[in-house]
């Protein structure tokens, strides 16, 4: 690759890349993309070789200056719009890398009591206004280990929605080993977004996600998927946690799509309680190659007019087309908080039980002081080396849980992947403009999960 178009950061205000044989300019401020000619490239290269101090003036001269899309200003508070319930802090699987440490987050396994689930939903929706949009997510552990409380929470949420005129969406992330036809009908009735955790097909999955006794879980899951995949309202997606053991992504992608999933998303394992399964830098290089190979296949299918549910790319295309620019990687600790089984609130489901991201209690609501401190500390302008990286507003600084727990070990991978996504976007914009209709919606991205480009559920 031509060094001037490599993904490595050269200047905080710009990034050059090539797509379709033409040079392109990515401006982090507003995540703006321009095709440029060699004269513009030369002028920018000269400015970079001279140390980069004249880059802002040069951008202004080319009509590319803009006020900051993301400022240093930190929101003082956020109304909660998304709440996850660790409805069951226990699990029947013994995944090698689980962030919840076997489902219980290092504590005694337990279910969330009904009264806490209902109080959490009441706190979210009691003052909801007409037309406002909320999400209630069920995570664990394995949420279906406590389906009675899950159903009670859904009914309570719908009670508030009918009363206020607010719109409430539901999601669940499940290992699918316990799912029944009745569960699927319930999810379908309420339009759930269902994510099934699957790490591959057959043995590949079983090595990472066995039952606690050691027996493989894949066959059981396949036996139970039928009613889920037959749901009419909701689209069911698979989420794959990637370690060094399941790096054949293309095979996994085709295998899971072949089972009938609408889409498949991959997330590298970067932080586990024991360190087991965490990917090393060299393995992330291999992961990038695998991701790009899946991306090329997805492009090929899209160019042929078909659908190919490689969610990492489809989500990225949507965000790049809009020019998404975020001061945080996700809504954790902002518009999104997670409730633990014992009624604590945390910045997200991965931090359940961890005081570092405690955000108050179900009974008392979000602690405004802790939320403010979190938002100040986690703003991407406060992160290093993010402040000098061109990808900072696409990435938002990386998953808080991974960064706080392990540091920023995946930056090269993230930049490499985003550079590929930028290139793919330019190619598809040219070849399939119908995929990017008027306005800013994206035709092939309906019902995608709300994952950020690089973060993971």
């Amino acid at each position: 690759m031509n060094a001037r178009f490599a993904p490595a950061p050269r200047h905080p205000d710009l990034h050059l890349f090539e797509s379709g044989g033409a040079p392109h300019l990515f401006l982090p401020n507003g995540s703006r993309i321009f095709e440029i000619d060699e004269d513009v490239v030369s002028a920018l290269e000269t400015a970079l070789h001279e140390g980069g101090a004249t880059v802002p003036d040069l951008l202004a001269r080319f009509g590319l200056a803009a006020p900051p899309f993301v400022t240093d200003e930190v929101p003082e508070s956020f109304a909660t719009r998304a709440l996850s319930l660790a409805i069951s802090q226990k699990c029947n699987l013994g995944c090698t890398y689980c962030y919840a440490d076997g489902g219980s987050f290092g504590e005694a396994p337990r279910n969330m009591p009904h009264d806490i689930a209902l109080a959490a939903v009441d706190g979210l929706l009691r003052d909801a206004g007409r037309g406002e949009r909320y999400t209630v997510a069920f995570l664990g552990g394995e949420p279906l280990a406590n389906r009675a409380a899950l159903r009670a929470a859904v009914e309570r949420a719908n009670h508030w929605a009918e009363r206020s005129g607010a719109h409430v969406g539901f999601s669940v992330t499940t290992n699918a080993t316990l799912v029944t036809a009745e569960d699927a009908a319930f999810f379908d009735k309420f339009g759930f977004a269902v994510t099934v955790s699957l790490d591959g097909v057959g043995d590949v999955h079983d090595r990472q996600r066995p039952f606690k006794g050691g027996r493989g879980s894949f066959q059981r899951i396949v036996e139970r998927l039928g009613p889920l995949l037959a749901m009419r309202r909701a689209q069911v997606t698979a989420r794959v946690t990637v370690t060094r053991e399941n790096l054949s992504l293309h095979e996994t992608l085709d295998g899971l799509l072949g089972l009938g999933f609408y889409g498949v998303g991959f997330s590298p394992m970067l932080k586990s309680p024991s360190g087991k399964g965490e990917m090393a830098a060299a393995e992330l290089g291999r992961l990038l190659e695998e991701m790009i190979a899946c991306g090329h296949e997805c492009e090929r299918r899209l160019l042929a007019g078909g659908h190919y549910g490689f969610l990492n790319l489809l989500t990225a295309l949507q965000e790049i087309h809009r020019g998404t620019h975020r001061p945080y990687p996700c809504g954790a600790g902002a518009g999104y908080v997670a409730a633990s089984a014992d009624g604590g609130l945390y910045a997200c489901h991965r931090f359940v039980g961890d005081d570092i991201a405690a955000m108050g209690t179900v009974a008392g609501g979000v602690d405004a002081g802790r939320q403010s401190d979190w938002l100040v500390a986690r703003h991407v302008h406060k992160q290093e080396p993010c402040r000098t990286c061109w990808a900072r507003y696409l990435c938002g600084g990386g998953c808080h849980h991974e960064v706080i727990g392990r540091g920023r070990v995946a930056c090269d991978y993230i930049r490499g992947w985003l550079q590929y996504c930028l290139q793919a976007y330019v190619r598809l914009l040219e070849a399939r403009p119908d995929m990017f209709p008027p306005g800013n919606s994206f035709r092939d991205a309906d019902a995608l999960p709300a994952d950020a480009v690089t973060s993971q559920p």
Binding site: R32, D37, G63, H321, Y425
Partner: protein
């Protein structure tokens, strides 16, 4: 000239193409769209529903008036006719009522009236229930009309607008607005109450539009028909002589 082609949405709406004035960028826009210093969005609302043309000018009591109905369109089949009034869209009232001096009113008028169709943009491509009133007998007619997409990329749809239509309803000539828009309504402050002196706690000064502005002349409340003030013709034909520069609140030579 350098070739720079904006690709994604943020690049398109923030790029100032060669030849475009600063006000074409969001950060440089005056954001006064009615009666309008840059565009008049009423031209867009006229065609927001397929098969129906609305009459959007004037603060007409009763609200959006049907100007024309395409023969054979869903509106035509439902019985919508010219001069009918649009009362609600998708369950939301969009009509206007006359202004009142009885304090705040729940009804929409003025800017809110023209903005009232903006919500429909979110339903582009979909049919929405529109309720019309026949002014002759006050009967209502329901029609499910498809909302036209107003954007092509980040630009307004050429299907809805002919070239020039977004600016044809703007303040014209500009001198008329100097007569109409007092009280610092103009984005760039237009002089209003000038030559002000405070004596013993009382302010005395002149209206920028009054002819005589000597020490003995008191402020005249704005009234275009008052012969002691400049009229429209004075401003159209002789603005460079009747209007003065005002610096620091004081008239200058």
């Amino acid at each position: 000239m350098a070739k720079i082609s904006p690709k994604n949405v943020t690049a398109q709406f923030s790029y100032r193409a060669a030849g475009n004035p600063p006000s074409t960028l969001p950060q440089g826009a005056i954001s006064n769209f009615f009666p309008g210093l840059e565009f008049d969005l009423r031209s867009l609302w006229k065609h927001i529903f397929e098969g129906i043309e609305l009459h959007e000018s004037g603060l007409v009591s009763g609200g959006h008036q049907v100007l024309a109905v395409t023969p054979g369109s869903p509106g035509d089949i439902a019985g919508v006719r010219p001069l009918f009034r649009l009362l609600s869209v998708d369950g939301r009232p969009v009509e206007s009522r006359g202004m009142s001096d009885q304090g705040p009113m729940p009804e929409r008028f003025a800017m809110e009236f023209f903005n009232s169709l903006a919500d429909a943009v979110q339903k582009a491509g979909q049919p929405v229930r529109c309720v019309f009133r026949n002014p002759q007998n006050n009967a209502t007619v329901n029609a499910d009309l498809v909302v036209q997409p107003i954007f092509e990329g980040v630009a307004f749809s050429k299907k809805l607008l002919e070239a020039g239509s977004m600016t044809q309803g703007l303040c014209s000539p500009w001198q008329a607005d100097y007569r109409e828009c007092g009280c610092y309504y103009w984005a760039a402050s237009r002089p209003d109450y000038i030559n002000v002196q405070v004596v013993a706690g009382q302010a005395r000064g002149h209206n920028w539009m009054q002819r005589n502005r000597g020490p003995a002349d008191d402020y005249l409340p704005d009234a275009p028909q008052d012969p002691r003030q400049f009229n429209y013709n004075d401003l159209y034909t002789n603005w460079e002589h009747v209007l003065t520069f005002v610096v620091g609140g004081k008239e200058t030579e």
